[in-house]
């Protein structure tokens, strides 16, 4: 594997909430994505995946930690110095209902990145190719529509097209295919896979473990602002060590209606980052919690095969 493109080191992100204080949505996350690699970030909703990606784009309030892009520290760069980096580092936003300007036609949304970065030659052609690559064919059918005139999956593909129009070197994809059906999804992921082979680095945030299992090299599992397990895909899926990962895998629905499997549905509310439990942050919901878990905060430690780590001493 080559040099890491994007490195996130010990990232802490705090959102101000009310007058009272700060919510630590991300609390000490480290990960790295190399050129030509796809890393999947999975985890409960609200655990800080989007915040991590946005912080990597310098769009969330970073309290501490480092973001490095191609080895250069960009944690404190001003917006002018960030501009060239923002051409190479693209973010596909999670919610295509919110992230497309309702007053922009498809054409304008996809052209916008090209205009911002002053790419003048063959704008129209680039825009069309991006739409085609994202599976919106023929582009003419969509160019003059507003977002509200598109289906959910079509909006998502417009987002993808806008991100690909600049031919980025690093892609942060926040649930890029959540609204796409299996065949379109396979097409988009196949495209990302091809681009990846040409050197694109991808950090893919997804809830879909089956997708992560098929396309990612590595999987990082997040829980309440921390990475609790990470490793090569086959390891994490085939030999999950952290009880949270195990539970997560057990509830992935199966295609056969007669085979329900043994889902281990965790009870209790989604944990609140404003109120992090002491000790292991998973202990109130952990099916195998021990006394020590209430007080000792476990760190990522090697578990199983090489490169596989989990934050649970009983893993």
């Amino acid at each position: 594997m080559s040099e890491p493109l994007l490195e996130i080191e010990d990232l802490v992100v705090g959102y101000r909430q009310g007058r009272k204080g700060v919510v630590q949505a991300v609390d000490g996350v480290s990960l790295a994505v190399a050129a030509g690699a796809m890393v999947a970030l999975v985890g409960e909703s609200g655990c800080g995946k989007t915040t991590t990606a946005q912080a990597a784009m310098r769009m969330a309030p970073i309290a501490s930690g480092r973001i490095r892009y191609r080895g250069a520290d960009i944690t404190a760069l001003g917006s002018r110095a960030l501009r060239p980096i923002r051409r190479e580092l693209q973010l596909i936003f999670q919610d295509p209902y919110e992230s497309l300007d309702p007053r922009f036609r498809v054409r304008d949304t996809v052209l916008e990145p090209l205009q911002i970065h002053g790419i003048a030659d063959d704008r129209e052609g680039r825009m069309r190719r991006a739409l085609e690559r994202a599976g919106l064919t023929p582009p003419e059918l969509y160019l003059d529509r507003y977002p509200h005139e598109l289906s959910g999956g079509q909006r998502q593909r417009v987002s993808i097209a806008a991100a690909l129009a600049l031919e980025p070197t690093m892609l942060l994809a926040d649930e890029p295919v959540s609204m796409l059906d299996v065949s379109v999804r396979a097409g988009i992921l196949g495209l990302l896979d091809d681009l990846r082979r040409d050197g694109l680095g991808v950090l893919m945030i997804t809830h879909d473990l089956s997708t992560a299992a098929r396309y990612a090299d590595r999987i990082c599992v997040m829980y309440l602002g921390r990475i609790v397990e990470e490793g090569p895909t086959a390891e994490v899926i085939g030999d999950p060590r952290h009880p949270y990962t195990q539970a997560l895998l057990s509830v992935v629905p199966r295609p056969d209606p007669d085979d329900a499997g043994e889902p281990r549905i965790l009870r209790g509310e989604t944990p609140n980052p404003a109120d992090v439990p002491t000790g292991c942050r998973f202990h109130p919901r952990c099916p195998v919690a021990q006394d020590r878990c209430r007080t000792d905060d476990p760190v990522l430690a090697p578990a199983g095969a090489a490169g596989h780590r989990a934050a649970c001493p009983y893993a």
């Binding site: 960030l82 693209q90 007053r103 911002i116």
Partner: protein, 316 residues
């Protein structure tokens, strides 16, 4: 179901009603806006065509002092024997111009500060809002007496006073809207792409708050006309510009009441009231239609059309 209801439900709307511009749909859905707009169009025409349709000049003595309403002078004459109807027509232009430009000054100053403050936030926001607060606590009356007596009584100064009095309101309103728009994911997306602040403001933020600004501008014109009338009534108006406010002031000043010459005061008073009302009707309706605070999109009434089932043979 009555036959009429049935017909209403089934008959497909013709192509042109579907493609009617939103302004038309807005006026149709808000009758009071249509009435307001109609009144304003009439007054605007009067103001524009004033010099040509007024029977006499604004300084032309055409009869006795406080001449009673009669055939050639349906609204009577004032203390200098000038035709009130003609004065009213000439005054429309001055009053509306002062109202519009005053509102425009307030909107431009307030809108710019509001957008900058709301978009950038942080320390700049604090500073600008502190300045706004100072202006907000300054009593309007004092401000206007001071400015008028220092700078003198002229239309330009009245416009500046109106701007000074009302920009704070506009700034606060726009700021709060911009603060919301700034958090929207599509603005974040533009930031992530590396778009400049100017571009984001012009292409993503402004179009979103513009409808609200327009609605508020309309309301602001009503306020500006009211303020102009009040300023003139206090004797601080431009002595050379016979606005409606000046007419009222003049009437009181020359004791029209003790002459029993109600016609020197009531017509301009009524004109002011009607125009303010019309602006208000239009403005509140526009605000109602545009203010996102008042609307939850998914609970709104929808206007889809029903049509007959397609011919089976053609469809299958």
């Amino acid at each position: 179901m009555s036959p009429q209801e049935l017909a209403e439900a089934i008959i497909p709307a013709t192509a042109d009603t579907r493609r009617r511009p939103p302004v038309w749909r807005f006026l149709k859905g808000h009758p009071q806006a249509a009435i307001g707009a109609a009144i304003l169009i009439v007054f605007a025409l009067i103001a524009i065509l004033g010099p040509w349709i007024a029977p006499y000049g604004p300084r032309e003595q055409v009869g006795p002092i406080f001449g009673t309403p009669s055939n050639p002078h349906p609204l009577g004459l004032d203390d200098a024997g000038i035709d009130i109807l003609s004065l009213l027509i000439h005054g429309a232009r001055i009053t509306l111009i002062v109202g519009f430009t005053g509102a425009l000054v307030a909107v431009l100053v307030g809108g710019t500060i509001g957008i900058i403050s709301g978009y950038f936030g942080g320390r700049l926001d604090n500073l600008l809002m502190r300045v706004t607060d100072y202006f907000l606590v300054l009593p309007d009356l004092v401000l206007l007496i001071v400015v008028a007596s220092i700078w003198g009584r002229s239309l330009r100064n009245i416009i500046i006073i109106i701007g000074l009095v009302y920009w704070t309101f506009m700034a606060r309103l726009i700021r709060s809207q911009v603060k919301v728009v700034r958090e929207r994911a599509y603005v974040k997306r533009a930031q992530a792409l590396g778009a400049s602040h100017l571009r984001i403001i012009l292409r993503h933020v402004l179009p979103q708050v513009l409808p609200l600004i327009l609605a508020q501008t309309v309301l602001m014109v009503a306020l500006a006309i009211f303020l102009e009338t009040a300023i003139s009534f206090l004797g601080l108006g431009d002595p050379n510009a016979p606005s409606w406010g000046r007419m009222i002031e003049n009437g009181f000043d020359r004791s029209a009441i003790s002459y029993g010459a109600w016609w020197a005061i009531v017509p301009p008073g009524l004109a002011v009231a009607i125009v303010i009302m019309a602006f208000n009707m239009l403005g509140t309706a526009a605000e109602d239609a545009l203010n996102p605070r008042l609307k939850v999109s998914h609970l709104l009434r929808r206007h889809f059309r029903m049509r007959p089932l397609p011919d089976k043979d053609a469809a299958r």
